[in-house]
Symmetry: C2
Subunit: 259 residues, 2 copies
């Protein structure tokens, strides 16, 4: 019997039909990532094959690792988590993705990752076969795609660095700094960061135990770098302090003697 470890997955309930789909041209055509930098004709080609999906709440699975892959997705609004399960059932979150990001590239016809909504979500769905056909006609679009995947690769490598050489405390600092960049989560006025990500997901993303995440937050608070209002609602007190953290060595190398 395969028993999932308690940490292996966030407990989410019913996979409800809380999803609405509609063709692309019904929605406002504000720029949203994938169609940026494309010619009007390319944009139109994409619209023709796109479906818009609305996920009304977090916790819904978009697709799972091992499934046959027929679609590519682009995020319009909301956040998803890209994860993969080890043989022992342990979950690792590879990345959180935000508006403008692309996911769902198949490997030999199947998805290798699981993707789930972490909050209400709107995404575009493109049939992979038809997208490939278009790419064969529109090299510029394809080059655009290449650049995007290359960017994801860089991002993955950044994560490798963090997991390979940073302490749990530093990993949290890195994570916070990553999300401070997005205005949809960080309010510069109030210095308040509003995360839709719970401790389960955060732990599986940073590769540490949930309790350790809590302790890292406690330490941030104790050292005056941040303050928890509610879970998922953090006031940033010392951004430079966080930046110093991510540069320090893993151990007591808090010193960094540079004028």
């Amino acid at each position: 019997m395969k028993r999932l470890l308690p940490s292996s997955s966030t407990p989410e309930k019913k996979r409800a039909p809380e999803i609405r789909a509609r063709p692309f041209d019904k929605i406002s055509d504000r720029p949203s990532g994938i169609e940026n930098l494309l010619s009007p004709r390319e944009q139109q080609e994409l619209r023709n094959i796109a479906t818009v999906l609305d996920y009304r709440r977090g916790g819904i699975t978009i697709f799972s690792e091992g499934e046959d892959a027929h679609f590519i997705y682009a995020i319009d609004e909301g956040v998803v988590r890209i994860s993969r399960h080890a043989a022992n059932g342990q979950r690792q979150i590879m990345a959180f993705m935000v508006p403008g990001d692309l996911f769902g590239l198949p490997e030999r016809g199947v998805y290798v990752n699981t993707v789930e909504a972490v909050c209400p979500l709107r995404i575009y769905r493109f049939p992979w076969q038809r997208l490939k056909e278009i790419m064969m006609r529109e090299p510029q679009l394809q080059l655009n795609m290449l650049v995007r995947v290359a960017h994801d690769l860089r991002q993955a490598q950044r994560q490798i660095m963090i997991l390979g050489q940073q302490s749990t405390y530093q990993r949290l600092a890195n994570f916070l700094l990553e999300f401070l960049q997005y205005p949809e989560f960080y309010d510069t006025k109030t210095s308040c960061l509003n995360l839709p990500i719970n401790r389960f997901d955060l732990a599986d993303y940073l590769g540490i135990a949930r309790e350790t995440v809590a302790r890292a937050f406690a330490r941030l608070e104790h050292e005056g770098l941040a303050r928890r209002l509610k879970a998922g609602n953090i006031e940033i007190l010392d951004m430079n302090g966080l930046r110093q953290l991510q540069r320090a060595g893993r151990r007591r190398n808090t010193d960094f003697s540079e004028p």
Copy 2:
């Protein structure tokens, strides 16, 4: 003053002119990765812009992070290490690459990684600008490129899983299994693995200390899974034991009760 930590780089000497370059068409045209699955015309286009580089020994830098990127490379023979340095000087090796692999994709015009030969090496070099021009004419070639980068992304994600949830001991097992796949390193007859990778590099790849690598080897030996002949020369005694290791949970979950 920025002082590199002792672990930050493998001590290598002179960056000698021990490199030889020649046009592609001089060499034997045996298949070597990049030109697989391409039409003869596409292959010819690639040959026209390719240069062959021979590195006579390991330890030579091919390019460094931050440099302007003008070329893409493909490995014909030998192994390279792809690495990146953290702000504190600590080196992380993202991947080792082998014949058929591609590297050197720029991010906004510069290289983000450092790539060095770990042993004598022969690679093909393609001017990025001209390759892009060809890709615009040959969508099939470009799709091929996309698939390759996507594959690298999967590989990076595999590494994220390892660094995120495996113990040092398991990481070593994973590493060994990875190289057991390549006939150029693993002799199935004698069960003997011949690695060109030293402990420095291995530690920086697995995200652990050099001493810990040595201890992990000692433990493999003690538990009868492998035996060191010389460093870099390991006899594999129990491949299935290694496979079980990579599946186990991080802690004392050695048991896996499945019939």
